[in-house]
């Protein structure tokens, strides 16, 4: 790859994005690390095809979310990845138990949503506008609004339970 250094820079700058997506679509640490690496691999594979027609983060969200969908099938044929002990610790493990618990609760709420909603809420929490969410997901802007309204209702009913 001609742009190896550029790719490394892009991954390092958006490491958090990859981590957050990987954590959202998996239920165990091992699985999370597998998906994290798979996203990096898919980004690397597609990097030469990135044409600057969209923002780099938009392109990364698309690849990361699509890879997560493919990964839903992965239990059948697990790949060979970098061993877990060579991987960096998750950014939430910084010794602050209260904060870590809060993050876990946050993820638990999102994981209760369905697959479609998970992707939309992730982009919303990442600060994306309705237009950007529509651009990444393929839903119309009004549909994104409707779905976010439903997500709010669902989250409220989760609290009442």
């Amino acid at each position: 790859m001609q742009n190896k250094n550029e790719f490394i820079r892009v991954v390092q700058e958006n490491e958090g994005l990859i981590y957050k997506v990987a954590k959202l679509y998996t239920d165990s640490r091992e699985d999370e690390q597998d998906l994290y690496q798979e996203i990096i691999y898919q980004l690397w594979k597609s990097f030469d095809g990135f044409r600057n027609e969209s923002k780099i983060s938009t392109w990364m969200y698309r690849i990361a979310l699509n890879t997560s969908i493919v990964h839903l099938n992965r239990e059948r044929r697990k790949g060979k990845y970098v061993p877990i002990d060579e991987m960096p610790a998750p950014p939430s493990d910084n010794g602050n138990t209260l904060k870590a618990e809060r993050i876990e609760a946050l993820y638990a709420h999102i994981k209760n949503l369905n697959t479609v909603e998970k992707g939309i809420v992730l982009l919303y929490l990442e600060g994306k506008s309705y237009e950007e969410i529509a651009g990444i997901t393929g839903f119309s802007v009004s549909n994104v609004g409707t779905r976010l309204g439903r997500i709010k209702q669902k989250l409220s009913s989760q609290i009442k339970k």
Binding site: E38, I40, Y41, S46, L65, I69, P88, N94, E117, L155
Partner: protein, 197 residues
């Protein structure tokens, strides 16, 4: 936790993550290389080995087909041949449909559609393979009995015991496997329904 509260917590978490950059250049390269070797060398290994087995068996039967003297043995031989050719084709096709989601270029909605439809096709193909496997279990014995053992097993009394045992075995297996398939189909239909909402 309300969505607005979640957003605040998410922003805090994102800021923490941003401060803790940990992934190194060498680790990024290692991840891509390990995965690349994995993808190119380890795709569908069990299916490939199984396919070679099926093809070798099919070739053996085809070469010795003239040794099947009676119409019923020839019938069994023909069905065995067809089944042995179809099984690997269906296996590879089912791998294709389950991995056909395009990571590059697709939007989230399109990928989910591909994923859910792929699951439904996968189940249909796996069911087909299961039935073919059941047929093969019945027809391969008379063929190999004649070609390897030199005996017409239809003239042996135990053949009916073999057939009835096979039937019970497959009946139990079908119950277990098809329950799993129902779950896969339900998951696929749920995603399709969510997309239509």
């Amino acid at each position: 936790m309300k969505l607005e509260e979640m957003k605040i917590a998410w922003e805090e978490m994102s800021a923490d993550i941003g401060r803790q950059k940990k992934i190194t250049d060498s680790l990024i390269i290692k991840m891509t290389q390990i995965n690349y070797r994995n993808k190119t060398l380890k795709i569908a290994v069990p299916e490939t080995i199984g396919s070679f087995g099926c093809m070798a068996m099919a070739l053996y039967i085809a070469i010795h087909f003239q040794e099947l003297h009676t119409w019923y043995l020839q019938g069994c031989g023909l069905i065995t041949l067809i089944t042995l050719v179809l099984l690997p084709i269906i296996s590879f096709r089912s791998i294709y449909v389950i991995t056909a989601v395009q990571v590059e270029g697709n939007k989230y909605k399109e990928s989910l559609l591909q994923y859910a439809n792929g699951k439904k096709k996968f189940v249909a193909l796996q069911k087909m393979n299961f039935y073919l496997g059941a047929i093969l279990l019945v027809v391969i014995l008379p063929v190999t009995g004649q070609l390897i053992g030199g005996k017409d097993v239809f003239k042996q009394h135990w053949i009916w015991l073999w057939f009835s045992t096979s039937f019970i075995f497959f009946y139990i297996l079908a119950g277990r496997i098809f329950r799993k398939y129902v779950n896969i189909i339900t998951e696929a239909q749920t995603i399709l329904r969510e997309l239509e909402e």
